[in-house]
Symmetry: C2
């Protein structure tokens, strides 16, 4: 992704060094050390250092993941490589490893080009962070669009099979395709931070405080490489998503310019569209809630996306999680053909405010026939959850 051309940065007075590889941070001497574009050594002193190294797709170390046609989806180069392969190699069938956001979005893009799509993953659940009933709706949507799903399929190796590729599972089962997209997740690029001994957070992300400062007071970290406080648990979490990354970057700039900032936590809000389905979540799922010491109660309701009298309504499923001891709202999930993605924001704000389910249930949410029933699906769910608390 190129947000701005290099010379735009330079015009803004920024000494931008592309092709410079930082290999080491000398924290005591406050300098970075590495190699320049022609391999020549370079060193640069700093008053403050920002590590914004992002995250990288996980590429398994098993045999065959380095074969041509096995690709990740992260950089613009990745995208170009996939497009070029589609144009020149007559890809008829693609195997996608993983079933997360990226995998779902790629499945849709490939089906739009009329390419056969097979998705595989080791775990049994399509989306483990969704309630099974909601996850089943996603599974159905994928199947309805001719995407084949193989859960419980753990790839042992990838082999060449004539002109094609074959992903082979530990039990010998194989899946053949013309291209394999690896979308099994990302990990934080925290190698430099680890080498210099900075404190680490969940998943080996770089631990930062609310000013985005690492355990070295002269070094900041922001973006997908850094961790965050979760507003529901109050504990550290690593949820690498765009808004948080962007917000953290601005916060470092504000802080360096002498503007005191204290960045609040993340609620873990995430949405995606897959074919005609909107999928949204915020906060904790029941298992996360239990792990964090809550006593979760859950409810799943189905409600209309528009008022009874209004044509074109579809069903929205809402799953809400609350804490039996405190009555607090802990999380929300929604799946539907319309009105699920944007609705999740109301629950996200409630999580930031630490609202109880009862307080949330009394919210004055919008009603007009084209946009929902008198009681918003979130309120219907909250009213039901109150009975279970």
């Amino acid at each position: 992704l190129v947000v701005r051309a290099a010379d735009k940065f330079r015009q803004a007075g920024i000494d931008m060094r592309t092709g410079h590889h930082v290999e080491h941070i000398d924290a005591a001497g406050r300098a970075v050390i590495g190699s320049g574009p022609e391999g020549q050594p370079f060193q640069m002193a700093y008053d403050r250092l920002l590590i914004a190294t992002g995250a990288s797709p996980i590429m398994p170390q098993q045999p065959g993941f380095d074969l041509p046609g096995v690709v990740a989806v992260k950089t613009m180069e990745d995208g170009r490589a996939i497009k070029s392969r589609l144009q020149h190699n007559a890809v008829k069938k693609t195997l996608i490893l993983g079933m997360g956001y990226i995998a779902m979005e790629m499945s849709e893009a490939l089906r739009a080009r009329d390419i056969e799509v097979v998705m595989a993953k080791p775990r049994a659940e399509v989306l483990p962070w969704l309630d099974p009933e909601l996850s089943d709706d996603v599974r159905r949507e994928l199947n309805d669009h001719m995407v084949e799903l193989y859960t419980g399929f753990a790839v042992d190796r990838i082999e060449s099979a004539g002109d094609r590729l074959k992903a082979v599972a530990a039990n010998g089962r194989g899946l053949e395709a013309d291209m394999v997209i690896v979308a099994i997740g990302v990990r934080p690029n925290s190698g430099l931070a680890m080498k210099v001994g900075l404190d680490l957070g969940p998943a080996q992300s770089i631990a930062v405080d609310r000013r985005m400062c690492t355990s070295d007071q002269f070094i900041y970290a922001a973006g997908d490489c850094a961790d965050a406080y979760h507003v529901v648990t109050g504990k550290k979490a690593w949820i690498p998503l765009a808004l948080r990354a962007n917000r953290a970057g601005w916060a470092v700039a504000d802080h360096l310019c002498g503007k005191p900032v204290s960045v609040q936590g993340v609620a873990g809000t995430g949405v995606f569209r897959v074919f005609d389905l909107e999928v949204a979540r915020t906060g904790l799922i029941a298992a996360e809630a239990r792990a964090a010491g809550f006593e979760p109660a859950t409810v799943t309701v189905s409600a209309r996306s528009r008022a009874h009298a209004h044509p074109g309504a579809s069903q929205i499923k809402v799953h809400l999680i609350g804490d039996k001891r405190s009555g607090r709202l802990l999380g929300a999930q929604m799946v539907g053909r319309e009105g699920a993605a944007l609705r999740i924001n109301a629950a996200a704000v409630a999580l930031h405010a630490g609202m109880t389910v009862e307080q949330f249930s009394q919210s004055d949410l919008a009603y007009a026939p084209p946009f929902g029933p008198t009681w918003d699906p979130l309120l219907v769910a909250a009213n039901q959850l109150l009975k279970a608390l």
Copy 2:
């Protein structure tokens, strides 16, 4: 509107008396007094009384508002009368008096039948509860759909003009049409409550506490006839909308069944669609904020409804109001072709939680390219408003 047939109520053990007109409440004797279906007197004792008399359209007392073809839009009978007139009287042109929700929705319904529509109102603003820049978008949308708008047109009388009707303004200007729809607002049906001396709230609605109890401890009021606390001002407000009315009814039932309930206030959240435009508001407008003793700062931003790279994006305008002294968020308004109506709920929840603009600006709202930019339009506006506070 008939939610349920009368015999369904009776099957549920409810002694439902249709055609009974209550003329007086004997508060000391705890009885209602009135006349039955054949005009015979009737009297009924109560332990607790619920007044749920709703609201009625305002019909001006000027000459001609009783002419055939001058109609209000409230009851199912009104709707039938309008439909019948459209079918039998060859209505080619309709004049709508008023420019509120009902007026807007009727204009759309009539244009869908290819009937000429003219709207008129005395005040200069199309929607006085919207920021002028957003209100202008609504004006443009109506004009684009061939709805003529006459602001500053105060009707003095309605006259017959051959087969047609003519609304005449004080200055002699006239607007001719085949039908006149009066949609200039509603007033609470609080006559009974006034007669028996119950405390009244804003706009002569019936004053109730958080249990929906009136100033007589044996009399409740709920629905469009009752007032409510506003969560931003903490003061009484009369905002007759469906969700609050419904919620208040349930609360009375809970309370009578021995379940202690305390109904929170309203945020004044309202949405409607007019042609292809979604219009939404919650909380106070700047003028209301000043009247309530706040020192409002406002900002209006325009943002994309989808991410930059995503086709089909349109503009969403967001107007936010905050308090300079406390930093509190006071209100939000949005207008756009998609994503405005449901987005308002996030701001509504923030008002319930009493969030500052800064707290709200740090919310972890959803992002995915089909649903908005990385920074949700509400967050873009909150970030801008922070600078003005």
